[in-house]
């Protein structure tokens, strides 16, 4: 658990982060979203002491981080950034092994861990271990960056616009990877982005920041249904609200009895995808398929209800 308690950061009179308090639950993904200059990155960088707060406290699992030496704290917290920040003169394997080496793991354990992580990110260890970062594609570099951040099995992973430099297709894949890895390891993830779509897709909870202030900290459904300020509403995009709401739920949770013909949709798809397919194919209902067999239907009427503003 990360408790941010009345934290303020000012640079020579300019307040960048203004009395922010929030509590991030363990094993959850918290997305901090805001425009540039909102103080979101500064807030995140105070968690691993890359920025020292002017006032306030941050506690990790009850311990005030002011009591922990910065380098020791950072070795316990994964850190992945935009533009990956890989060390260009060290191989992929050496990059991933950075923190285990700093922590003094033995060679065998480190090498095993490097191979395990590379495989987890679909990078064949034998092929990629000895390559240099500049020989990799953007998406591969980004995966190595996250693998390095996770190398020592940290409880907390901080990510600063990690997908900013990726094209949409690779970004979607990277986001799915993050979700499955977060579920696998139970890591607490704090992710900074300016993209509300990404925030809604990834976040268990979303913190919206503007001009150093925390405007709202709530679940995505709550933020979409009841934005705390006009700015939050603007960030979500008024015309996007029903679709964002639909994107949060899976077809699997809204299957109705009944049989219809035509091309089925997978139960794992989001309601938004189902809605788009209904509209596009001009059908009032779609059959739902799970594990290869049809288990029911999803209807346009039901989805229209679900897309309405929750009361």
């Amino acid at each position: 658990m990360i408790e941010i308690d009345d934290i303020t950061k000012a640079y020579e009179g300019t307040v960048v982060v203004d009395h922010v308090s929030l509590t991030i639950e363990p094993r959850s993904i918290c997305v901090i979203v805001g425009t540039s200059g909102s103080g979101k990155t500064t807030l995140m960088r105070m968690i691993n002491k890359l920025v020292e707060p002017t006032s306030g406290h941050i506690r990790i699992d009850g311990q005030d981080i002011a009591e922990i030496p910065a380098y020791e704290l950072r070795r316990r917290i994964g850190y992945a950034i935009q533009g990956h920040g890989l060390f260009p003169h060290r191989t992929v394997g050496q990059n991933v092994a950075t923190v285990p080496k700093l922590l003094g793991w033995d060679k065998k354990k480190t090498a095993d861990r490097v191979d395990e992580l590379l495989s987890l990110f679909q990078l064949d260890p034998a092929e990629f271990r000895n390559r240099l970062p500049h020989e990799l594609s953007g998406g591969q570099q980004q995966r190595v960056g996250v693998a390095r951040a996770l190398a020592a099995g940290p409880n907390i992973l901080l990510m600063d616009e990690p997908y900013g430099a990726l094209d949409p297709v690779i970004r979607a894949k990277a986001q799915e990877d993050l979700l499955s890895i977060q579920r696998k390891f139970g890591t607490t993830v704090v992710l900074v982005t300016h993209d509300m779509e990404e925030a809604i897709h990834l976040g268990d909870k979303i913190a919206v920041m503007d001009k150093g202030k925390l405007l709202q900290f709530a679940k995505p459904e709550e933020i979409i249904a009841h934005p705390a300020t006009p700015f939050v509403a603007e960030l979500i995009g008024t015309s996007e609200r029903p679709f964002r709401l639909l994107s949060l739920a899976k077809v699997a949770d809204h299957i109705e009895a009944g049989e219809v013909g035509g091309e089925p949709i997978e139960a794992s798809a989001s309601l938004r995808d189902a809605y788009a397919e209904l509209l596009w194919s001009g059908r009032p209902a779609l059959p739902v398929r799970r594990d290869g067999s049809i288990v029911g239907q999803v209807t346009l009427a039901r989805l229209s209800q679900l897309a309405a503003r929750p009361q």
């Binding site: 950072r74 533009g83 060390f87 950075t98 923190v99």
Partner: protein
């Protein structure tokens, strides 16, 4: 590229042969003599003089490198930042002093011979290496230095494992400049009795023997070009290895 390397190899070969068996070239250098002057320098072995010349340059550059890189490291650390302007002006003064003046000032203190030449070359070599090391250490990719901090490296670990390796090609460029300047400047060391190739040139000037002047000058020139090229190639290799080609 390949033809360039071939030419360099041939020139290097010619230089070696000339240093070991200068008499083979007597016919060529004889063209530049008058009144039966000797065609080949005859007051000492050219090979010995050349090795001594290189030795002085190497020693002076090594000392400049250690001091300049050390200084640049200190002034780019948080505790040394306030010494940055001071160290910059010190290195600048070293560069603006004419080497002849340094020799003139150093002789009364150090006597004639190699020592004053070493001091002059050392002072002269500081600035390019210092400035380049500063550039290299302060222009690192921000994402990389941020990541180095973020993974929990201490200041010392960041310097040794990330900052210096990445700045190395730029530092090397400074060393290359310094070496080439020193190779040429070392010749004037012979005015205070240092054993350098300047000796051959001065002997030629005193006896109006163009062949001697040409020999001394050619050896220094060829050495400078070859060493410059070799260090450039090493830089390119390092830049390529770290994926920085086209960065600095």
């Amino acid at each position: 590229m390949k033809i360039g390397n071939l030419i360099r190899l041939v020139i290097f070969g010619l230089l070696l042969v000339f240093l070991i068996q200068p008499e083979l070239f007597a016919g060529f250098f004889g063209l530049f003599t008058k009144n039966n002057q000797p065609a080949i320098y005859n007051q000492g072995s050219l090979l010995d003089i050349t090795l001594n010349h290189l030795g002085i340059v190497a020693a002076a550059t090594l000392a400049s490198t250690i001091i300049a890189v050390g200084l640049a490291i200190v002034v780019t650390r948080p505790f040394g930042a306030e010494f940055l302007p001071l160290s910059r002006s010190l290195a600048n003064i070293g560069q603006t002093f004419p080497p002849v003046a340094v020799l003139a000032l150093a002789v009364p203190m150090l006597g004639f011979g190699t020592a004053p030449t070493l001091v002059a070359l050392f002072l002269y070599g500081l600035l390019p290496i210092f400035e380049n090391t500063l550039t290299g250490l302060t222009n690192l990719p921000p994402a990389v230095t941020d990541a180095a901090k973020g993974v929990g490296m201490s200041g010392w670990q960041r310097l040794i494992k990330v900052e210096l390796p990445l700045a190395l090609p730029v530092i090397l460029a400074g060393v290359r400049l310094s070496v080439v300047i020193s190779l040429a400047t070392a010749t004037i060391g012979s005015t205070v009795a240092a054993r350098t190739l300047g000796e051959v040139i001065i002997a030629g000037l005193l006896s109006s023997n163009t062949a001697f002047v040409l020999q001394g000058g050619l050896i220094v020139g060829v050495l400078a070009v070859l060493i410059y090229d070799a260090l450039s190639a090493l830089e390119r290799f390092l830049m390529k290895r770290t994926g920085q080609l086209g960065r600095a």
